[in-house]
């Protein structure tokens, strides 16, 4: 291929302008901002009030703790569920496949505000349909949104509902790329379906599952809309405040851009570190 720098940039320039202005420059800019005291009249270099504050701010520790709790509980449950769902949906014995796919994949197109509203109403303490149904089973009403642990559970349930199908779609694509004759050979050798799942399907799916975990970790680290809308700005108290919500309040409530930028880079660093650990754990072993 001969060098066609001019032609190439004629095609690239419009996108590159937006990319540089609204992605690359902000990445660099917020890194710089994270060292500035943005609450003084002139923004001055003072990382003590940004990075230094992270180390001693109990509100940050609380948001970090909540985010990690959600991460550690929600991601494994959802990925396991998505793997099972994808396997079941891939079964050749399944009837009404389209209907089942619709049930699990539909949440993928539902917006955060719409689904947050429904979950908030369903989990209402006095009038919510969930507590009404529990009452039928003689379970006393659970104060879903006003008890810290129950509120966390609601966030986890909501996020799992919204994203399990999304992950199942990705895992299903991975399943369908496994050649059929692998299973045929195993069946001829008398290997049971259950053993096939654990000793053929799961190992072959490992790269796809690791990918799903990484995507989910990055997503969970940025969790914002659910605690913002479902549990009313991270309530009760600060029980469901996540890093994303804490950043939002610092940046656009207190207009403390420097501190918020330090939080943003902490989120990025944690997402990268946790993703790398997952990639390392899920690497192909000889």
């Amino acid at each position: 291929m001969r060098l066609r720098t001019q032609t190439a940039y004629a095609f690239l320039t419009p996108y590159l302008l937006v990319f540089l202005a609204f992605w690359i420059w902000p990445i660099a800019n917020s890194f710089w901002l994270s060292f500035l005291n943005t609450r003084s009249a002139n923004w001055t270099f003072n990382p003590r009030v940004t990075w230094g504050r992270l180390l001693v701010d109990p509100a940050f520790a609380n948001a970090l703790w909540n985010t990690l709790i959600i991460l550690v509980i929600q991601v494994p449950i959802m990925i396991a569920l998505a793997t099972v769902l994808a396997t079941l949906l891939n079964s050749s014995m399944l009837k009404a496949r389209g209907l089942f796919r619709f049930a699990f994949f539909a949440p993928v197109v539902v917006g955060e505000v719409a689904y947050a509203a429904v979950f908030r109403l369903m989990f209402n303490h006095e009038f919510g349909i969930i507590n009404k149904m529990l009452a039928v089973a003689s379970v006393p009403a659970i104060p879903w949104l006003s008890s810290p642990n129950a509120a966390m559970a609601v966030i986890i349930i909501a996020v799992t509902w919204r994203w399990a199908g999304y992950n199942a779609i990705i895992i299903l694509a991975g399943l369908q790329s496994i050649p059929e004759d692998v299973y045929e050979a195993a069946t001829l050798d008398g290997v049971s379906k259950t053993r096939q799942f654990f000793f053929i399907t799961l190992p072959l799916l490992r790269p796809v599952i690791v990918l799903c975990v990484v995507i989910s970790v990055i997503g969970t680290m940025q969790l914002f809309s659910e605690p913002f809308l479902i549990t009313n700005r991270g309530g009760p108290g600060q029980a469901t405040e996540t890093l994303g919500l804490f950043l939002y309040r610092q940046a656009f409530g207190a207009f403390n851009f420097g501190y918020a930028s330090a939080i943003a880079y902490t989120i990025a660093a944690l997402a990268i570190v946790i993703s790398l650990i997952n990639l390392w754990l899920g690497r192909e072993r000889e």
């Binding site: 419009p14 996108y15 202005a21 917020s30 949440p107 917006g111 109403l121 990025a268």
Partner: protein, 278 residues
């Protein structure tokens, strides 16, 4: 032979026995969204369990329209999503074409920059974006603010690059030998061949924009320029508010996407799996 088929039958029953309840649980929130949207305020907050729709949808919508001007917000959302999708497809397919078709100075740097920053959280850029658009240029509450900054999304670039790379290069070379200009090859040979990919990409981009919440919430907070999710979100958390109205809005945001999803499921699934395998 008979025992094998009866074992298969049992497995089939077990499969459906596991999936049917799970599917019903998964459909439940969407079904209740619809049911709530048709119930009166008293109905929603009555002690009984109601699982079937009532007839108050229009009344609820009137309340919602009075509270936030939902029709105007929906119109803004539609126009923004359409403009964003069109522009993003144009920009990213041009960039993807360049990266797939040409050898040029700086190609490695451009690709490495896109790939290297792909998974950075959005929070890393949102603060400078806000400062730049709202404070430095005073462009908050404008169409520009809603449409242009989100165009940075590089997913389409990689997706379109891959699409063009998979096409047989001889096709384009034949046109080049004939002396056809590069932009004509892109426009009249490359793009038409990429139609299925563009369809999948457009659907994903439209959905992104339609459901986008955080950026429009920050940048367009004036009631007259709110998008539909922002308008609806502004009601959630108020103490005296019509939940029937909110649910009507939720249905109006969700139903068109569900219909699109059913009609174009193949493209949705293709877009999502491609988006994941970046």
């Amino acid at each position: 032979m008979r025992s094998k088929s009866s074992a298969e039958f049992r497995r089939k029953i077990a499969l459906h026995a596991a999936l049917v309840p799970l599917a019903l649980i998964w459909l439940f929130p969407l079904w209740m969204m619809f049911v709530f949207s048709t119930m009166s305020e008293n109905g929603i907050f009555s002690p009984g369990i109601v699982l079937t729709p009532s007839d108050q949808f229009v009344q609820n919508f009137v309340v919602l329209e009075r509270d936030v001007g939902f029709l105007r917000a929906t119109t803004i959302s539609i126009l923004v999503a359409a403009a964003y999708t069109l522009l993003s497809v144009a920009l990213t397919s041009m960039a993807g074409w360049a990266l797939a078709s040409y050898r040029f100075v700086g190609k490695g740097v451009v690709l490495a920059t896109i790939l290297g920053t792909l998974t950075l959280p959005y929070f890393v850029v949102v603060i400078p974006q806000f400062i730049m658009v709202a404070r430095d240029f005073g462009l908050d509450n404008t169409w520009f603010a809603l449409i242009v900054p989100p165009l940075f999304n590089s997913l389409g670039v990689l997706f379109m690059r891959q699409t063009f790379q998979m096409m047989p290069g001889e096709l384009f070379d034949a046109a080049r030998v004939e002396g056809v200009k590069e932009w004509r090859i892109f426009l009249f040979v490359g793009l038409p061949l990429a139609r299925p990919a563009i369809a999948a990409l457009s659907i994903i981009l439209f959905l992104h924009s339609w459901n986008n919440y955080l950026w429009p919430l920050l940048i367009n907070s004036k009631p007259a320029m709110m998008t539909a999710p922002v308008a609806l979100g502004s009601l959630i958390g108020l103490t005296k508010v019509s939940w029937g109205g909110i649910m009507t809005g939720a249905v109006m945001l969700t139903a068109p996407m569900l219909i699109l999803f059913v009609a174009l499921q193949r493209h949705f699934v293709a877009g999502i799996s491609a988006g994941a395998v970046k």
